[in-house]
C-alpha cells in the first residue's frame, strides 16, 4: 500500500492541459468543487470533460475557460435551471458539446471500465445523437439487428468528491449514501483517479467496516482531504446544497463580464478552500446546511 495523501495543489498538478477529465457527482451533488477551483487557479486549458449528469462542476470549468469539449447526458443546475456558462459558450461556439442519453453515456464508461472499445445500444435510433463523432451504426452479428456502437469513454484522469478515506485511497461512504450516480463506473473507466474527501481517517477505521468502501485503493491514484469540498453543491448525508451561494453564482453568471469578476474574487484570489468558503458563505450558514440525521 502506498501513501496517496497529497495536497489540493499537488492533485491539480496531476491534471495536464489538453487531457480528458472525468467528473463524478450529479447535478448539484458531490462534485469535487474545491479541486475544480484549484484546476482553474492553475490555469488548465483545452480539457475534454466526460461526465454523466453534469452540473455546477461543468459550468464553472466552462465559465473559467478551461474547457474545449463536453461529453455528457446533461449540463444544468437541476432545480435551479440551465447552466449559464455552458449555454453561453456552446452558443458562441467556444466549446463543443457531444450529447448522450443517460444509458448511452453509462455504456461509454462501462466499455472503458471493461477494457473494450465500444458498447452497442438500441437507444439512439432516430435521434440527433446518432450522428456524433463517438457513435457509429453497427449490425448485431447474431440477429442482424441494426444498432449503434458508442465508443468507450476513458478519462485520462477522473476526479470525485467522497466522504472519508484512509491515506491509501480507500474511499468510504455512509450506508445512507445516495447511489444515484455512476462514480464507481467512471472511476473504473479512468486511467488515474483522484478523490477529495471530507475527512482522512485512520486505516484501522476503514479496515473495521470494509463494506463501506465503494472506491478501493487499487483504483485510486491520489486522495486529498478537503472539508466541505463539494460546496456550493451538497455531499449527501453530510450537508445540503448552499442555495444562497448557488443563486449568487447564477446572478453573477448572467453575463460574461459579471462572471469574470465573480471568478476573480471567489476562485482565483482565494489561496485555498477555507479562504473560498470565507468569501462564499458564513460559518453560520454552513452549520445550518449540516445534516446530522445519518451516521
Amino acid at each position: 500500500m502506498r501513501d496517496k495523501l497529497i495536497s489540493l495543489s499537488e492533485a491539480a498538478s496531476l491534471i495536464p492541459s489538453g487531457c480528458t477529465l472525468g467528473l463524478g457527482g450529479l447535478m448539484l451533488r458531490r462534485h469535487p468543487m474545491a479541486l475544480i477551483r484549484e484546476i482553474i487557479r492553475q490555469g488548465k486549458r483545452d480539457l475534454t470533460l466526460q461526465t454523466w449528469v453534469g452540473g455546477i462542476d461543468v459550468d464553472l470549468l466552462v465559465g473559467a475557460g478551461c474547457v474545449r469539449r463536453v461529453e455528457a447526458a446533461y449540463e444544468g443546475l437541476g432545480p435551479l435551471g440551465a447552466a449559464p456558462n455552458v449555454r453561453r459558450a456552446a452558443e458562441a461556439g467556444a466549446i463543443e458539446l457531444e450529447d448522450y442519453s443517460e444509458t448511452t453515456m453509462i455504456s461509454r464508461f462501462r466499455a472503458a471500465a471493461m477494457g473494450i472499445p465500444f458498447m452497442p445500444t438500441r437507444v439512439l435510433k432516430g435521434t440527433g445523437m446518432a450522428d456524433q463523432a463517438h457513435v457509429r451504426p453497427i449490425v448485431d452479428p447474431f440477429s442482424g439487428e441494426k444498432l449503434h456502437a458508442v465508443a468507450a469513454a476513458k478519462p485520462d484522469v477522473a476526479i470525485f468528491h467522497g466522504y472519508w478515506a484512509d491515506r491509501y485511497g480507500n474511499i468510504q461512504a455512509p450506508p445512507g449514501r445516495n447511489s444515484d450516480d455512476v462514480d464507481t463506473t467512471i472511476a473504473k473507466a479512468a486511467d488515474k483517479v483522484i478523490v477529495t474527501v471530507e475527512k482522512i481517517v485512520r486505516h484501522e477505521d476503514v479496515m473495521r467496516r470494509p463494506t463501506l468502501t465503494y472506491i478501493p485503493q487499487h483504483w485510486v491514484t491520489a486522495v486529498v482531504e478537503v472539508p466541505t469540498g463539494a460546496h456550493p453543491g451538497n455531499c449527501d448525508t453530510l450537508y445540503e446544497p448552499d442555495f444562497a451561494a448557488l443563486e449568487a453564482y447564477l446572478a453573477a453568471a448572467k453575463d460574461a463580464t459579471g462572471f469574470k469578476t465573480w471568478l476573480a474574487r471567489h476562485v482565483l484570489e482565494p489561496k485555498d478552500n477555507a479562504e473560498y468558503l470565507a468569501l462564499a458563505t458564513t460559518p453560520g450558514k454552513l452549520a445550518e446546511l449540516r445534516m446530522w440525521s445519518v451516521a
Binding site: E75, P79, V86, A90, T103, T104, K125, M129, D236, M291
Partner: protein
C-alpha cells in the same frame, strides 16, 4: 362567473389517472423546476396516487432510482436530501435503474420538451433561434430512453405554438419519427412510443395510420379553433370530439386533501391561466 370546481392541473391529473392499470410501473424523472416540474413530476405522481386510491391500487411508481416511494407522506420540500431520504421500497444505483429502463421494464414514462412535433418527437437539446443562432438547452437526460424504451410514453405540456411545432429542430427523444411506419422501419421496437398527450386545453393521441397527433378530447369550454390556434401545426381533427371528463368531486377531494394537501406536486398551474387570474 363562478370559479370552476377544479383547476386545470386537477383535470390533467384525473384524466391521466384513468390511463393507468394494475401491475404497471410508471417512471417519473427528477431534475426539473417550476411549471416543468408540475408537468412531468407533479401531475404524473398525483395521477399515479389517484389511480392507486381508485381504479388501479397496484399501479406502481418509481421516481428515478427511488422504487415505490411512500405516497401517503410526500417530502416536505423537493430537494436532494428530502427526496432521497423519502421512505421507499428501495433507492437503487443509478446505472441499475437505467438498465431496467433500456431493457423495456418500464411500462409508462412521462416526458415533455421545449419542442414537440406532430409525430411526438421531442427536443430538449438545441433549438434554432429566429436569426439562425442555435439556442442550447439542457442536453438529453433520459428522454431518449423514455421515448424509445418505455412501454408507452405520455407527453405533458401546455399548448403553445413555439412548443408544438411541425418538426423539431433536433430529435432528443424519438416519437413516431416521420409518421406512418417510419418508427418501426428505423428498428425502434423496444417500447411502444408516445401514446397520449396531456395538455392544459385538450388531450391528444396519435392517429393509427399517419401517427400524427390527433385531438382526443377537448377540456370543458375549449374549442377546436382555440386548440389549433395554439399549435404550430394542424393536428388531426376528428368529426366528433368528446369533452374531457372533468374530475369528480370525490377525485378533487382526494387530490386536495389526501394526495397533495400542501400543493407540493401541483404548485404551478399553466402560465396562461395564472396570467388570466392575475389580470382579472
Amino acid at each position: 362567473m363562478s370559479a370552476p370546481a377544479y383547476t386545470i392541473n386537477e383535470l390533467m391529473v384525473a384524466e391521466l389517472s384513468r390511463h393507468f392499470r394494475n401491475d404497471e410501473i410508471g417512471f417519473v424523472g427528477v431534475g426539473t423546476s417550476g411549471r416543468a416540474f408540475s408537468l412531468v413530476v407533479g401531475i404524473p405522481l398525483a395521477a399515479g396516487r389517484l389511480a392507486q386510491l381508485t381504479t388501479a391500487p397496484r399501479f406502481d411508481l418509481q421516481i428515478g432510482p427511488i422504487i415505490g416511494p411512500e405516497m401517503q407522506e410526500l417530502p416536505e420540500r423537493w430537494n436532494d436530501s428530502t427526496v432521497y431520504s423519502w421512505a421507499a421500497s428501495g433507492l437503487i444505483d443509478g446505472a441499475d435503474n437505467l438498465d431496467m429502463f433500456a431493457k423495456g421494464r418500464v411500462d409508462v414514462g412521462f416526458v415533455s420538451g421545449a419542442q414537440i412535433d406532430q409525430y411526438g418527437n421531442l427536443n430538449v437539446t438545441w433549438i434554432k433561434g429566429k436569426d439562425g443562432r442555435r439556442i442550447r438547452l439542457i442536453g438529453c437526460l433520459a428522454l431518449p430512453e423514455h421515448q424509445a424504451c418505455a412501454g408507452r410514453s405520455v407527453i405533458l405540456a401546455d399548448l403553445h405554438p413555439r412548443v408544438f411545432v411541425s418538426e423539431v429542430d433536433y430529435i432528443t427523444g424519438v416519437g413516431w419519427l416521420k409518421g406512418g411506419r417510419s418508427r418501426e422501419e428505423a428498428g425502434i421496437h423496444i417500447g411502444g412510443g408516445p401514446q397520449l398527450v396531456v395538455t392544459d386545453k385538450a388531450i391528444f393521441d396519435f392517429a393509427p395510420e399517419s401517427r400524427r397527433m390527433r385531438i382526443k378530447s377537448l377540456h370543458p369550454g375549449v374549442t377546436v379553433d382555440e386548440v389549433v390556434g395554439l399549435m404550430g401545426f394542424r393536428p388531426e381533427v376528428p368529426e366528433k370530439i368528446p369533452v374531457t371528463a372533468p374530475p369528480s368531486a370525490g377525485e378533487v377531494d382526494l387530490i386536495r386533501n389526501t394526495i397533495d394537501p400542501r400543493r407540493l406536486l401541483l404548485a404551478h398551474e399553466p402560465e396562461t391561466a395564472a396570467k388570466k387570474r392575475s389580470a382579472g
